[in-house]
């Protein structure tokens, strides 16, 4: 895996992101990615996997996820049931140990990319419980007494939405990258990658509206890259004539198909109100 990550056909990576990814891949330290929702944190792991040709193992963390579930789970109920029925399998405890995602990643025949998605969703102790395992890339299975060790340290990508702060000891072991909201130039590149051959002026106009919308103060959820892409897709599918965007009728201040951009009825209402006020001033 000597070749460096430079983004892929479908993913525009900024210079700082490339450096962070390469450092994490070469030194095999986990890469912690934060950023506004919709700036492509999860997609990054998919793209790293694609770029390096490695299989991707996804571990989606929820509020009820325990660190142990990433290692393995011992299904005692199944063993009890089998014991009751006199099943032969009952004599071997390893029949009832279910592998977790970390185990899968450690023993994968090919070097995998392990994505731990939205680590901040879990309990506050969750990252601490994974410290040793991620550091040494090994853990013990107490039921069978065996030790699972990674032959080669997998590439680990961790995403966080900042709902909970992560402990220092955990952070020390990671590289960190904050995906900031793309500027207009990067955004144009991203759009090019997703919609090659889209009309230039449609993009220009749409981006103008989009960035204007992001500037509206007090929006509950600012539209992000993924929303812009959705919106453009809709505009293309609906075959929206360019002039609707271009000479925006001041009486219809809300951009067409705004549902893709504004996800909150309060935001839509506020935007309408602001537009109404702008209209009155304009008169």
């Amino acid at each position: 895996m000597d070749q460096k990550f430079t983004g892929t056909k479908n993913y525009v990576a900024t210079d700082d992101l490339k450096v962070a990814v390469n450092a994490a891949v070469m030194l095999r330290r986990p890469l912690l990615v934060k950023g506004e929702p919709g700036t492509g944190k999860t997609v990054l792991a998919h793209e790293i996997a694609k770029a390096t040709g490695a299989p991707l193992i996804e571990w989606n963390v929820k509020s009820t996820t325990k660190a142990q579930q990433g290692l393995y789970e011992y299904d005692a109920v199944a063993r009890l049931r089998d014991g009751q029925l006199g099943d032969e399998r009952v004599h071997d405890i390893s029949n009832y140990i279910r592998k977790g995602k970390l185990w899968e990643a450690f023993t994968s025949p090919e070097l995998p990319v392990l994505l731990i998605d939205e680590i901040d969703k879990a309990d506050i102790e969750f990252p601490n419980d994974l410290l040793q395992e991620l550091d040494r890339m090994s853990f013990d299975v107490y039921e069978t007494g065996e030790r699972i060790e990674a032959k080669e340290r997998p590439i680990v990508v961790i995403t966080s939405n900042n709902e909970k702060e992560l402990p220092d000891a955990f952070l020390r072991r990671c590289f960190f990258h904050y995906i900031k909201f793309p500027d207009a130039d990067t955004m144009r590149e991203i759009i090019d990658v997703h919609f090659p051959g889209i009309q230039k002026n449609l993009v220009t106009k749409a981006m103008e509206i989009f960035y204007e919308l992001r500037e509206v103060p007090g929006l509950k959820k600012k539209p992000s890259t993924s929303e812009l892409l959705d919106w453009l897709k809709l505009l293309l599918v609906e075959d929206m004539p360019l002039d609707i965007l271009q000479d925006r009728d001041p009486t219809k201040a809300i951009p067409p198909l705004h549902g893709a951009l504004l996800k909150n009825e309060q935001d839509v209402m506020m935007f309408e109100r602001l537009a109404f006020m702008a209209r009155r001033q304009g008169r």
Binding site: D15, D16, V19, A20, N22, A23, A24, M26, L27, R29, L32, K34, A76, V77, L80, R81, G83, Q84, I124, K164, E165, L166, P167, D168, L171, R172, R173, C174, F175, F176, H177, Y178, K180
Partner: protein, 393 residues
């Protein structure tokens, strides 16, 4: 030279450790990056900064250290007076004029010259073409035009400066939290009392084995999941002298809200009287009688007051002492009622402990609380939680 960088980072409050430093050295050793200043900047940023709120500070430190190291002029980085750099006016240059300005040479040469200039220059300078200052055509300073300009602070005008970290794109993310919610949550964890209640959805292995052995057939026992069963009643002082502490109280509240399932809260102003409320906008319209609160929540609830206890002594000692309304019973009566009903009871004070003694009302409240008043700091919170979890009676 990089150790100096580490020291500077730590001095700036970025909690970088030897671990990160070694990681950085390892990465340099393995040639993760090409040898350009930008790549080094990106790599060290990914290594040292773990919170987007600190990115801006990192940029500043990097600028300071990097400037000192790369330019190599003396041991200490030259301190450039800020008013030199205040962009006051910008010389308007035509295209031909821009053509005329020749670049001085490569980076080293520029830095060498800069060093000399710095030594020669004594005062603020503006508008010339040799000295450092603002608005000129010298390669040094800011706001001027030269193809190889090195910008020192201030805003970029012609977008030609070499350094990215000076852009300080993350300036608006800097949010220094002295007492982050994580810390608060960790302190609140002391108060965890695990209990099993609710729906039985977890296998009780021990009970199952015991049951199976006794019955002779599989006898599965289930039990509810363990969770924090501590009950907390929060009384928050709002308005007036509490306004400077709103942020701290909000953090405490959000941390407590996430940590405890059985959390109830009420607001009061200055001192507890016969009525409390839950919504500050409707504090006069929707009040709860304090008697009802005392009756509704069992004595196993733990009480936390949050307030600065700074008020007129009469607000505690006399009926009718309240600044807002006619209270029939004095504040101390209500406070004693609470402390008598609930054995576990503390008062958290956001004011620093050293000024507590200057206020008469603070002493009175402390007396009423049996000295169970703690400062709203991590240590104070820790002590308060220990007091609350102490076996009562």
């Amino acid at each position: 030279m990089l150790l100096n960088f580490l020291d500077e980072l730590r001095a700036a409050g970025i909690s970088a450790s030897l671990k990160e430093h070694l990681t950085l050295l390892e990465a340099l050793d393995r040639e993760v990056i090409e040898q350009t200043p930008e790549a080094f900047y990106y790599l060290s940023r990914a290594t040292f900064v773990k919170d987007e709120g600190l990115l801006d500070r990192f940029d500043q430190v990097f600028q300071k250290v990097f400037k000192g190291v790369l330019t190599d002029y003396g041991q200490e980085a030259v301190d450039i007076p800020e008013d030199w750099l205040k962009a006051v006016a910008e010389k308007f240059l035509s295209a031909e004029e821009m053509e005329k300005i020749k670049s001085l040479g490569d980076w080293d040469e520029i830095m060498e010259t800069l060093k000399k200039r710095l030594e020669e220059q004594q005062g603020r300078h503006q508008g010339g073409n040799k000295w450092i200052g603002t608005g000129g055509t010298s390669p040094f300073g800011n706001g001027g035009y030269n193809p190889e300009g090195v910008r020192i602070g201030g805003e970029s005008r012609h977008k030609r400066a070499i350094k990215v970290w000076e852009k300080r794109e993350f300036a608006n993310l800097d949010n220094t939290k002295e007492l982050g919610t994580r810390n608060i949550k960790m302190a609140l964890r002391r108060l965890r009392r695990f209990a099993r209640e609710g729906a039985a959805d977890e296998l009780d292995l021990d009970a199952t084995i015991r049951g199976t052995a006794r019955q002779g057939f599989l006898d599965i026992h289930m039990r509810p999941e363990r969770h924090n069963a501590v009950k907390l009643l929060l009384f928050l002082d709002v308005g007036g002298s509490m306004d400077p502490h709103i942020k701290l109280c909000e953090e405490l509240f959000s941390a407590a809200n996430a940590e405890f399932k059985n959390l109830e809260f009420f607001y009061f102003h200055n001192c507890l009287y016969e009525g409390v409320w839950k919504d500050n906008r409707r504090r006069w319209a929707e009040r709860t009688k304090t008697w009802d609160v005392l009756h509704k929540y069992g004595h196993d609830y733990k009480i936390v007051f949050v307030g600065d206890a700074a008020m007129s002594p009469y607000e505690i000692s006399h009926p009718g002492g309240s600044v807002e309304h006619m209270n029939e019973e004095a504040g101390h009566v209500w406070l004693s009622r609470v402390t008598h009903t609930y054995p576990a009871c503390v008062w958290l004070n956001p004011e620093p402990q050293r000024i507590w003694d200057y206020s008469q009302s603070n002493k009175m409240v402390r007396q009423l609380m049996n000295d169970r008043m703690y400062p709203l700091t991590l240590e104070g919170l820790d002590d308060a939680m220990r007091e609350l979890s102490r076996k009562q009676g």
